[in-house]
Symmetry: D2
Subunit: 382 residues, 4 copies
């Protein structure tokens, strides 16, 4: 088993608990250390409540680094599950102290930080995985493989969206912790919905199609009064080679719990994947019938099979997808430790450069909007 | 019964037959005269094959006008079911000869013609209905009424799309008549997919929300080699008052037979209507459950009820929607003949000004694209 | 055009209006005579309100027979749209007077009447069509053809159901005319839900599979207090050759508007057709993918194509299905008048013998229930 | 953490791995001992491959009992994941040796064994949980609570089905281990599809509705040549108090991966839960709209909330449901160990008596079929 440390994800936090559940599923990771909370005291108490060794129940990430650095059984990697603006200092400190890192998205809150962090990751040789969750779903891998194999021919247009409803009113003003920092430009970064979830949609589209963004033009809106950042974003995209894309992210789209939806249209067919029915890929060949490719079907790619735990008809979901990222990170980290190439499971993972691309995309979207859509902009990293 | 004449819609034509079926459904219209084909001989033969009086089986629309003008039992209205570029001369001649007109969309192939025709309609006092089909569906009326009543609160964003797959290859080069003129700028106008179907999506969004477009920015693409017009269009829209919209039209979206889909998000709820499941409206109130409003439900508006012929669970479709337009046109024309206000059925119909707005929208989209998206453009009529 | 007469279907009646709309759609039938109401005065007034010649606005079906018999332009066929118990006397009188008949289901209210009517039809040589509506849907024909072609191999089991919700409370006690006679054994016959809608489900299953029922065992229930007939029926069926079936009909299944659903499983594949999404057939081959066969797809059978009026993606529904029955009846009647074989459109129609089978099925279900399910019963006609 | 032992579930086995994944998810169970295979050597090797202590990698369940009995840190419970006919001897031996047991369904292969085992469980005071998987889903609990609260009023009819496709051909003859023992009456018991999956459907219906079966009549079929047991079962059920039920199980229903579907109709509303979309409950109140109750919605019962790990829109599935059973078993076992009442999580669990009812149901179905459906039979335990 690999030893996992965690920063953030304390009492009442959202994503940290998902990391804990997911990392446990396959029995490959054991959580052994953590600095879970911005409040050191609460963080230590929480660590102990999770059954951690009090000696490894840290108050701050600095303590964690100091405490783990000297141990024989030091953590193999640390997951960063804190608000966006803290990713950079925490990741930097961890990398510089020689730890592998699993960082939440967006990689950082500013483009400057993202550029610096990606450079540091590259030059240090540390492993830096970024939890673009949706790329953990087996049927998303299946889609990627089918596009890469040419089953759709040249891609023409990509429709991707990520609407949510939870911020349809000003919940940040009535004590919702998650909404509070997400609407604060200093903690969140410049992109509201586009930075929080649009970045997932952008990554998903690129991950499946393999396309590289060429330029974009965008329109942001803030619908909830008193909010400093966008809560709805529309983006038109042009990919290298001529494909086009349309991206919508929204935090105010009533009726949408977590509506990640991707549709890819090529000259020979189309693929559709909706996160709320993640076990299916809808495939239509040119002049053929709409077909359902089920998770677990006999003709799935090896890439998808590796990420499946139950037979077709037995739904798998979000935790399993997240667990697939953890399984992939485990393999990639082990391969480095053992000085070998990772197996398929450790490939096609979201890494630091993907994180940088995501931040560059968000920045370009905001820039485009502020420039009133003119001219079409090219993100600094694509 | 009202007497109907038709121009276009001859042997092998698409929409003319739909007009014939739909106008017949309620027993309020009788087709009595026609100039059905660009080839006069074929047109006359077709008219006779349809059981028309040979005396009213005309070779050209000019003959039809001449022949009908002098009759006691002259047609009450003439439906124009010809390719776009002929709408203007035909409609103009009919109006000037004193006929009411039911014109296919887009109203005309050029903005100049649309402006002129709308002016002519207004000044002549003739009835000019435009067959924006989707506004004939009862659940689209229901959506419109619910938005107008404030059930969604202020509208925030509108997602509307109209993808098709039938032109995913160059069928215009192998004898498909409908594709041939639609890809010829002279016959179709400047907007390919945006002019052919984007105009439906634009009308539908405006019809349901009651919003007025303020400006737009657009990106067109032509994916099929040798095609002179766009076959895929992405449009970002800003409505007066701050609402935003995203519109996608495509003629190359494999897997989509006739994928008209509208989603409207407001501060108090959302509505969703998909044409391929037209008997349902999906409604979600803020903090409430997703609900299915069925066609025929007890609490529907009078506007919707009037346009329903069967109980819930008995699917109604495209022809019934089209028949609703014809029922509305009949009521509006009768009301004029009788010098009274039309009943509810004769209200909220797509008329010449809606047709003009549609053409202005298409022109602005093409202009925006040609200007590389800058600046945000305001159509001449909104 | 063929000339249609109608008995029943007066003011406020349900199915008569559907017959009028459907018969009009293709311009092949003209309603010219009617005795629309059990109240002669109301019937005549209604006829006139429908634009009929007062001379052909009859008070009773006897008057209609007398009046039409002597005319040159007498009706070609008469549609019977009255409550069940009147079908037999009306149909008998019409046939004996030499009229072709289109009779609503169930053919009669008693088995005795059904046997007699079928015999009369056979011996008289008159055309007797029965409006088993669901066999008018093009995708039901498509299913039938695919089964007949062997695409499913030998059929194993058939799951068919017809749940409704409208009689979930005792609406018959508060003035609902349709519910009132349906819950009166004298007017309706012995089978409540099973006679009213179970008979549709039984016909649909047999129509698509071509299977002949061998025996059945059934369990009826009456859930609404004060009701004399079943409002929920469960039936287990054995078909000749070994296939099995399960049939459920209910008038009290809240949430179901008109839930006709058929699933057929064979050794080589399965087919599924749900009436509320009638434009699709879901097909799964052994070891293959779930596929959507769309109405209008290129590879449809001629049988289905003939019954389609719009392209794929343009929903067709209940009225179009009903119109297909009328189109078929028209072709069958014309073929007889012209002494020729009917074309494909005039074949595979529900006729008197199908009506008899339906009544025999209902009677066997009630008998089985009353005998507490023992022994498995064979209907008199299968 | 509780210590788990396992019998069965070795290399290539199906359900044992699910138990391992599910028991791990919440970090409450640790697998520490196992006799995983019918082949002792393979079993020991597999145990070691799973990281177990070689001292606790047993060759047989007898060895496991002997080995664990003497340990301080002996297992808290043992999961039985072997073919049906072995459940009884293994469970008996474990209980007699004082171990708590988690037993796969069906509880035993014969009614005699089930009666004996249930008695033993009762009298010994040992915990015996039975993994009726579908009762682990949060939305199934939600349905149960809503029925119990009276939201549907008195239940009228229950439609439950469990179709599968994997045994549509004679895969048992070509080396499929799972199919081989399932088609062998000695190893599986008398009920083929009804014993394997019908028992799930029966439990699910009873679990949600709280109804007690009164009698049943059934029809079994064997469609695949050479098979000794039914592969398709139809059952009509009468519940105490007058409700009715229809149950279908099939191993040959092409197109169905794992089609567990439950629909419950009461006098005041209906509920629908489909396992392949497990995160939704479809609710329709009398005279109201069809509504989607989402997993994670604000107004869920405490019973459901306790069994949820992610927010609405983040799909949970089969493993999470299974993990909920394990979480419940953990709470129930701890409560016994601590001599207190279990919290809500440890209530409403499938226990030995539920297992007995399941076996009694299967036996009654087979008896009814063999008696040609006469008379309606009452299972020995309901
Ligand atoms: N991958 C996904 O789908 C996904 C989903 C949700 C959130 N996220 C990302 O996860 C991150 C956290 O989001 P969340 O919604 O869980 O936030 P949250 O507010 O629920 O939790 C943040 C946690 O971090 C702790 N924390 C803050 N600063 C800290 C510090 N300096 N040291 C230690 N702990 C500190 C807080 O005490 C809290 O426990 C964000 O970057 C967010 O974008 C990703
Ligand atoms: N409302 C809708 O949803 C909808 C759908 C399809 C088409 N349309 C519109 O309907 C119009 C026709 O489209 P279509 O697909 O049916 O075209 P089509 O090519 O199938 O038919 C055009 C018909 O017009 C006839 N015609 C051409 N010029 C004529 C003339 N000068 N005089 C008389 N007849 C003439 C042709 O002979 C042919 O019969 C177009 O404007 C199109 O945009 C609308
Ligand atoms: N095919 C289908 O799907 C379908 C659907 C609904 C009804 N039906 C069948 O249609 C028939 C009518 O049902 P409904 O729901 O329309 O009934 P209804 O009560 O709505 O209408 C019956 C009509 O028949 C008239 N009538 C009664 N006795 C008459 C007589 N002796 N002479 C003339 N008119 C008479 C009544 O005045 C009334 O106008 C029934 O047999 C029913 O089973 C079939
Ligand atoms: N809850 C559910 O949804 C569900 C699903 C599948 C199977 N099951 C049940 O689980 C049980 C196992 O089914 P499966 O499909 O996993 O079977 P399987 O054939 O895949 O696995 C059975 C395993 O038991 C081992 N085994 C057999 N006899 C043994 C013995 N005496 N000692 C130790 N190990 C022994 C075999 O070597 C094998 O590893 C059955 O009772 C089945 O009904 C339940």
């Amino acid at each position: 088993m690999l030893r996992l440390g965690m920063v953030g994800g304390g009492q009442g936090a959202y994503i940290g608990n998902i990391h804990r559940l997911a990392s446990r599923l396959d029995g490959q990771w054991q959580l052994v250390a953590g600095a879970f909370d911005v409040d050191p005291e609460r963080g230590r108490a929480f660590a102990i409540s999770q059954g951690l060794d009090p000696a490894r129940s840290y108050g701050t990430y600095a303590e964690l680094i100091a405490g783990e650095a000297g141990r024989e059984d030091r953590v193999d990697a640390v997951a960063i599950c804190t608000p966006n603006f803290t990713h950079y200092p925490i990741a930097k400190a961890l990398i510089e102290a020689g730890f592998d890192v699993i960082c939440e998205k967006p990689l950082t809150a500013t483009l400057e930080d993202a550029v610096a962090l990606e450079k540091l990751a590259r030059e240090s040789g540390r492993f830096v995985g970024v939890t673009y969750t949706y790329s953990g779903y087996p049927m998303v891998h299946e889609a990627r493989v089918r596009v890469a194999r040419g089953e759709l021919g040249a891609i023409r247009t990509v429709q991707v969206e990520y609407p949510l409803e939870w911020m349809a009113t000003a919940i940040e003003q009535s004590g919702n912790a998650q909404a509070a920092w997400r609407t604060d430009p200093k903690k969140n970064g410049r992109g509201g919905s586009i930075g929080d979830i649009g970045t997932h949609a952008y990554h998903l589209a690129g991950f499946v199609t393999g396309l590289t963004l060429e330029s974009l033009t965008a329109d942001l809106a803030t619908f909830v009064g008193g909010r400093a950042l966008d809560d709805n974003a529309h983006v038109m995209m042009r990919y290298q080679g001529g494909a086009r894309g349309l991206l919508w992210s929204s935090q105010v789209a009533i009726g949408n719990s977590n509506g990640v939806r991707l549709r890819v249209f090529g000259e020979k067919g189309s693929l559709q994947w909706f996160q709320e029915q993640p076990n299916e890929l809808v495939f239509t060949p040119l002049d053929g019938r709409v077909q359902i490719i089920k998770r677990g079907a006999d003709d799935l790619s090896e890439d998808a099979r590796l990420r499946i735990r139950t037979p077709p008809g037995h739904p798998e979901g979000y935790l399993e997808a997240f667990a697939n990222l953890y399984a992939g990170f485990a393999e990639a980290i082990r391969a480095r430790q053992e000085g070998r190439e990772p197996s398929l499971l450790g490939q096609n993972l979201p890494l630091a450069y993907d994180g940088l691309k995501g931040v560059a995309f968000v920045e370009a979207v905001v820039d485009s909007h502020e420039a009133e859509g003119q001219p079409w902009l090219t993100p600094v990293a694509v």
